[in-house]
Every structure is written in C-alpha cells, then in structure tokens.
C-alpha cells in the first residue's frame, strides 16, 4: 500500500497536519505567528548545512531550528524585543543559507523543493521521520497541555501554581523546531507557517474551549491536505501551494458562513422581539 506515492503523500500530509494543529493553536494564542515563519526561514541554513556535510536534511534542519528556537527564547526579555530578534535571526539565517547553498559546487539542488516542498517525492524513510516527529510533538504537547495552556493564559498564574512559563516556552519552541524539521520536505520552508497558523485561525470562531480549537484545527488541516493533494493530482498543480490554497479557502469560506449564520440568528431574534 505504501508503494503508491499518492498514499505516501497523503499520509505525510496528515502527519504534519496533526502535529501542526495544536502547535499552531499555541502560536496563534501567544501571538508568535512570526516565530513559525522565522524558524522556517532559518531552516534553509539547515538545508545548506546538511548538503555540505552530507547528512540527512532532517538532521541539519532540526539542528538549526532548535538553535534558533533556543536562542530566541533565551535572548527575549533581555533587552531585545522578540520580533526584532526574530527579524535579525530569520533573515540572516535565510541569507546565509542561500549563500552557502551557492557555494556547493557540483551539487545540483532543487531549491524550489525546499522552498515549496515536494510532497509527491516522499519516501518510506521520510514517512517514518514525519510520523515519528509528529508523534513526539503530540506527546510533548499532550503531556504539558495544562501547563502550556496556563502559561499562555497568564504567566503569573502559572508561576503561582508552580509551573515555569520559561520552561513551557522552551517546550513549545522545541516542538516547533521538530515540526519545521519534519515538515520541510512536505510543505517546504515558505508554507510551514501557513500550515501552522491558518488551520488554527480557521478553528477559532467555532471553538468554545482550547481543546475544541486544537481538534478542529487538526480536522481542517487534514481535510485541506487530502483535498489539496487531490486537486493538485487531477489538475496538475504544484502540490504544496495547492494545499495552502485549500486551507486558505477554508479559512475564508468558514468565516463567511459563520458571519452569515450569526447575522441570520440576530435577525431572527430581532424579529421575535418585534413580534
């Protein structure tokens, strides 16, 4: 079954969506949207590093993303604003990565594959890496769920309950680094942030609890992956961007539907009041 490249692609996309959903929720709640973006950009340096050292792409990207995540986590709150630090690190890491790639003589690499991902080229090993990474992230976040949630809601309340918000932030940034590293091959550097944020943002209006939002984000992400893959196969479209287009469409469509429902409800209740 795994021999079919479409099945492998679907499984890869589903794995990434499942891990990205709860993580994306935290990124939205903590207003760290740019963080995912920056880590993903920095990952380019990891790609260059892996190619230079002939190690698996996953290892180089994980190393650089972790380094970036930990550096930003540590330096923030020490006189640098988070977004400034991210800007400095993301752009310089991306630039250094691109320059480093250009030095690699004799190696023909398809940069586009890392920018936009190549989900159709996912092999069995990649699949194992993705599901391994996704499972690890889900376990980490599941295990720390309440502590992460309270630290996100209010760091002082967390401290009073004996939870260290700094440690929780580190857990989150490490999980983010892992997701970026496993997702880079599937959706690519530029689209990782979109897969983290858009499903979570789509789920917000329909959720009453954090758990519901995470579950719905996962559903949205998985559906977008499957639909995007189908579209890209049938209409011969670039797969990564198509998946993001679908998830963006879901965001807009569901928000419009939600607004219409609210309006209708309001009009109905107004009508009842008049009657």
């Amino acid at each position: 079954m795994l021999d079919d490249f479409l099945i492998r692609a679907t499984l890869a996309g589903v794995g990434v969506s499942l891990a990205a959903a709860p993580l994306g929720c935290f990124i939205v709640w903590r207003r760290m949207a740019y963080f995912g973006d920056a880590t993903a950009h920095a990952a380019m340096l990891g790609v260059a590093l892996s190619l230079t050292l002939s190690t698996p792409i996953f290892a180089g990207v994980l190393l650089i993303s972790l380094l970036m995540a930990v550096t930003v986590s540590t330096l923030s709150g020490r006189g640098y604003a988070m977004d400034t630090l991210l800007g400095v690190m993301a752009h310089s890491a991306l630039a250094v990565g691109l320059v480093a790639v250009s030095f690699l003589s004799g190696v023909r690499i398809d940069l586009m594959a890392y920018l936009f991902g190549d989900i159709l080229a996912v092999g069995k090993t990649d699949l194992a890496v993705i599901w391994g990474g996704a499972a690890l992230v889900l376990v980490m976040i599941g295990y720390r769920w309440s502590a992460l949630l309270l630290s996100t809601l209010n760091p002082d309340l967390a401290l009073a309950s004996g939870i260290s918000p700094r440690r929780e932030q580190l857990v989150l940034t490490i999980a983010l680094a892992i997701v970026v590293a496993v997702a880079i091959k599937v959706v690519g550097v530029l689209l990782i942030a979109a897969m983290l944020i858009i499903p979570a943002a789509t789920a917000r209006r329909f959720s009453r609890t954090p758990e519901a939002m995470a579950v719905m984000a996962a559903v949205v992400g998985v559906c977008a992956n499957i639909a995007g893959l189908a579209f890209s196969y049938h209409f011969d479209l670039p797969t990564g961007p198509t998946i993001v287009c679908v998830v963006a469409f879901l965001f807009v469509a569901l928000n419009v539907v939600n607004a219409l429902i609210r309006r209708t409800n309001r009009q109905l209740s107004n009508g009842q009041n008049v009657a």
Binding site: S146, L159, A160, R204, R208, P210, E211
Partner: protein, 243 residues
C-alpha cells in the same frame, strides 16, 4: 510559618523597587499591604510567586506551600477560547461538585458555561478568586481585590475573606491602594513605599464617631478599620489624621 522574607530587596533593571523587606505570615494571618502607586506592592506579590528574583535577601516558603494568586486584572487574548469551567480546571482537575460549590460561594454560580472574555471586571475577579480557592491554598495572595468596589462591596468582600481564612485555615496577603481604610481582621497592616514605612495593627474604631462621619456607615464596624500611619506622612497629601 507559611512565608518569611529577610532583607528582601528587588530591583527591576537598575531601578530598586523594594528594599529590606522583612515580612512573615502564619496560618490564619491576614496581612494587609498598603502603599501609594509605585510603592512596590504588586512587585512584592510577584516576587513571592517567583516571577521576579530578589536582588538581595531571601524568601523562605514552607515546604509544599500551595499558593492561590488573584492578580489585579487578567488580560485574556481574544484568540484564546476559554470557558469559565475550563479555566477553573487549570492546571489541575477539580471535581464538578467542588467547582459548583466554589462558584456558589463566590456568588457567581451561573457563569460556568460563559467565555472568560465575555465576563465583566467584577465577574472575572470572582472567578479568579474561585479558581484560587479550588486549589485549597495555604497562602492566598490578593492584588488590589477591592479596586472598583464601593465601601459596601469592600465590606462584603472582607467578610468573605474572613470566612475563607477560617474555613481553609490559610494565610492571606492582601494588597490595597486604600491608605486609610483596611480590613479590620488584619493581624498586621504594612505600609510600603519601597521599604516598610511602618506596620501595626489596624485601629479599632467601632465607636469612633469621626469614622462614621467620614464614611457614613453604620453596619460595617466589624469589617472596616482605620490604619493610622506612624512617624511619617504620605506625599500624596491625602493623609488625614482621622482618629
């Protein structure tokens, strides 16, 4: 002894906020900390919960001390959906029965299904108190709990705190911006302005006609008391030697 600070000093950046604070709270104690704006009251609470590190001196907490912290206000990001019920179960699960009775005690039994974002300031404060109480704290930290309450509301709130301290046998540190009127059951009032300016028991004023004239209350003698500062004056100029 629940908590004891010795020569506690705290600075934020290069700015000293607290200097040489010696404070101790026992089970059943209510300690009221008063002081003008910027006197370091909230900083003191934040240092006790560990959000700020002492630059000098130390804090000794009794082992396995459970702290219930009620912040002055809570900013909730609008991207975070959160019902009151879910919030009360953070970070530890509480039984439905415990949640029901605590919310009823806090005077807000019907809010469980509401979004935290939709609550009024007063409702949110009660929910925050309920959440702190659910953890059965040994030490309750209240940051400006009576801000926004009128004298009636303040007196009722103090009655509630007095009940809580007896039922949980916990210590209470309460920060208040009101320099004159404090909770009468306070074992100690500490006047803070970077350092401890003075401390002592609140004056018993149940029969003081000046007090009644000042605030126009007949029934609240058992909860409100005046605190007269010793040996110093507040620059704010609002100090009145009422008693």
């Amino acid at each position: 002894m629940l908590i004891q600070t010795r020569n506690l000093s705290v600075q934020i950046g290069q700015t000293p906020i607290l200097r040489d604070i010696d404070l101790q709270v026992q089970r059943g104690d209510i300690v009221t900390v008063i002081g003008p704006n910027g006197s370091g009251k909230s900083t003191l609470l934040k240092t006790i919960i560990g959000a700020l590190k002492p630059s000098n001196g130390r804090i000794v907490l009794s082992p396995r001390l459970s702290i219930g912290y009620v912040p002055q206000r809570l900013h909730i990001d609008e991207t975070l959906p959160m019902t009151v019920k879910r919030f009360l179960r953070l970070p530890r699960r509480a039984s439905a029965a415990a949640i029901q009775s605590t919310m009823a005690n806090a005077g807000v039994p019907d809010l469980l299904g509401q979004q935290l974002l939709s609550l009024s300031g007063g409702q949110l404060q009660r929910v925050l108190l309920a959440r702190a109480l659910l953890e059965q704290p040994d030490l309750l930290l209240l940051d400006e709990p009576t801000q926004g309450l009128d004298r009636r509301g303040t007196a009722d709130f103090y009655k509630q705190i007095d009940r809580i301290r007896h039922s949980l046998n916990c210590g209470v540190i309460m920060v208040s911006h009101d320099l004159q009127v404090v909770m009468r059951q306070s074992e100690r009032v500490i006047c803070l302005n970077g350092r401890i300016c003075c401390e002592g028991k609140p004056e018993v004023v149940s029969n003081s006609s000046e007090y009644r004239a000042l605030f126009g209350f007949e029934d609240d003698d058992d909860t409100l008391a005046l605190y007269s500062h010793r040996g110093h004056d507040h620059k704010a100029g609002s100090m009145r030697e009422a008693v």
